[in-house]
């Protein structure tokens, strides 16, 4: 089947910032994203787990497929939100069906 090159950007960020991040992505012209749950993790700011959470907000994973030429715009928008916070941004080469959607 015909595939089209794309970039898959994955941003792990604290849950209270989710709407700020997705607003920034929308403003950067992103046409869609998918939010996936995270149940725990570890990094420079220590280890955490989501079970029985009271007062700890947890993290989410926002995944975004975009046309390669839009990558820079997206990263800049995302980075402005993520930069002062804990979280991780990674990018992978991908192929998508139905390119007209991205």
């Amino acid at each position: 089947m015909e595939m089209h090159p794309a970039k898959r950007v994955s941003i792990v960020i604290e849950a209270p910032l989710e709407s700020r991040l997705t607003d920034a992505l929308n403003n950067a012209g992103v046409t869609g994203y998918t939010v996936m749950p995270v149940i725990g993790g570890s990094g420079r700011s220590g280890q955490w787990t989501r079970d029985g959470q009271v007062g700890r907000s947890g993290m989410v994973n926002v995944v975004c497929l975009i046309k390669p030429d839009r990558l820079d715009g997206l990263l800049e928008a995302a980075f402005a939100v993520v930069e002062p916070h804990i979280g991780v941004v990674s990018v992978t080469d991908a192929q998508v069906l139905r390119a007209e959607r991205f």
Partner: protein, 325 residues
């Protein structure tokens, strides 16, 4: 004095406190006991709805007291003011950065609804009445402390990430909306409404509180274990001293507006307790540089258990002496 000890002892062997202790112990022993996140959130929604509704129904039963507005006003002032005291104290007692100090200060101006609930059930157990509208005061005290802390930061030259979105998020925080909304429903439907749903929000309330405190014990215990390096002795001392200061201010406020003995206890508890839900989330947005391990450990691991076990009996004894109740 012996009455405080008696009270503390009888408080300590209640199922509620022992459930919290079980959670602490299980966490300390590194058991894999956990309560699913969705269930914990479900229980907190239940508790907020029940406590709000009962407060509203009680106001409906006793008439809208002229003191209601005064109490809400005083609560807001306390919520704005206590962070300033906490901030000053932290600067004197500890070596924390201004940002960490301000973030902690915000927690102590706000309130812990579970501490409030635990105090309510101590009052019920002793048959001491209290003003139903203090639930509204609790809701009113959640948010102002956050603004106060952000002002402290701005004054100290660092800029916090304040935006309109954040202010709306703080004011329309789920727990505030639920508490105020349930309070309103209780006020509108009154005793009749309460009678309809009492088998859900009254009878099983204490049992749910036990499981909720089990979860809080688990989280506090796990937090304490992983925060060993971060929370120094002076910080711990602050976590024990600040509730006493808060309680003193709460008592003063209660005297000022002439609350009953039970009302005075609840006002002291609101002032003495520290937030661990609304404020931490707001701090992650507004003061991301502040270290959450410190403020969560202090609020959930030090001040919360202190208030739950020794604080409430102590405040009640003092309230009884001062109000002559």
């Amino acid at each position: 004095m012996s009455s405080i000890i008696d009270l503390a002892a009888s408080n300590l062997i209640s199922p509620i406190i022992l459930s919290f202790a079980l959670g602490l112990l299980a966490a300390w022993a590194r058991s894999d006991l956990t309560i699913p996140e969705a269930v914990a959130k479900g229980m907190s929604i239940y508790l907020l709805f029940a406590i709000g509704f009962k407060g509203g129904a009680s106001v409906a039963a006793h008439g809208v007291d002229a003191k209601l507005l005064a109490a809400v006003g005083v609560g807001i002032v306390l919520s704005f003011g206590l962070p300033l005291i906490a901030f000053a104290l932290l600067n004197v007692m500890t070596k924390l950065t201004k940002i960490d100090a301000a973030a902690i200060a915000a927690h102590y101006g706000s309130i812990s609804i579970v501490t409030f609930v635990a105090a309510t059930s101590v009052l019920e157990g002793r048959g001491i009445a209290s003003e139903g509208y203090l639930v509204a005061v609790a809701a009113a005290m959640e948010a102002p402390a956050i603004l106060s802390a952000l002002w402290l930061i701005a004054r100290n030259g660092t800029s916090a990430k304040m935006d309109d979105g954040l202010i709306r998020e703080i004011m329309l925080n789920g727990s505030i909306v639920l508490l105020v909304g349930a309070f309103a429903i209780g006020m509108i439907t009154g005793e009749k409404g309460l009678a309809e749903i009492a088998p859900f929000i009254v009878s099983p309330f204490k049992g749910v509180l036990c499981l909720f405190l089990l979860d809080m014990g688990l989280i506090a215990g796990r937090g304490l274990r992983s925060a060993k390096g971060v929370v120094t002795l002076p910080i711990v001392a602050f976590g024990l001293l600040m509730p006493l200061i808060g309680a003193a201010f709460g008592l003063g406020a209660a005297m000022l507006i002439g609350l009953s003995t039970g009302g005075a206890l609840l006002m002291m508890v609101l002032s003495a307790s520290a937030s661990y839900i609304a404020v931490p989330a707001a701090m992650r947005v507004a003061l991301p540089q502040a270290n959450p391990a410190i403020y969560l450990t202090l609020s959930l691991g030090i001040t919360f258990p202190f208030n739950l076990t020794l604080g409430i009996p102590l405040y009640l004894t003092v309230a009884q002496i001062v109000t002559g109740g």
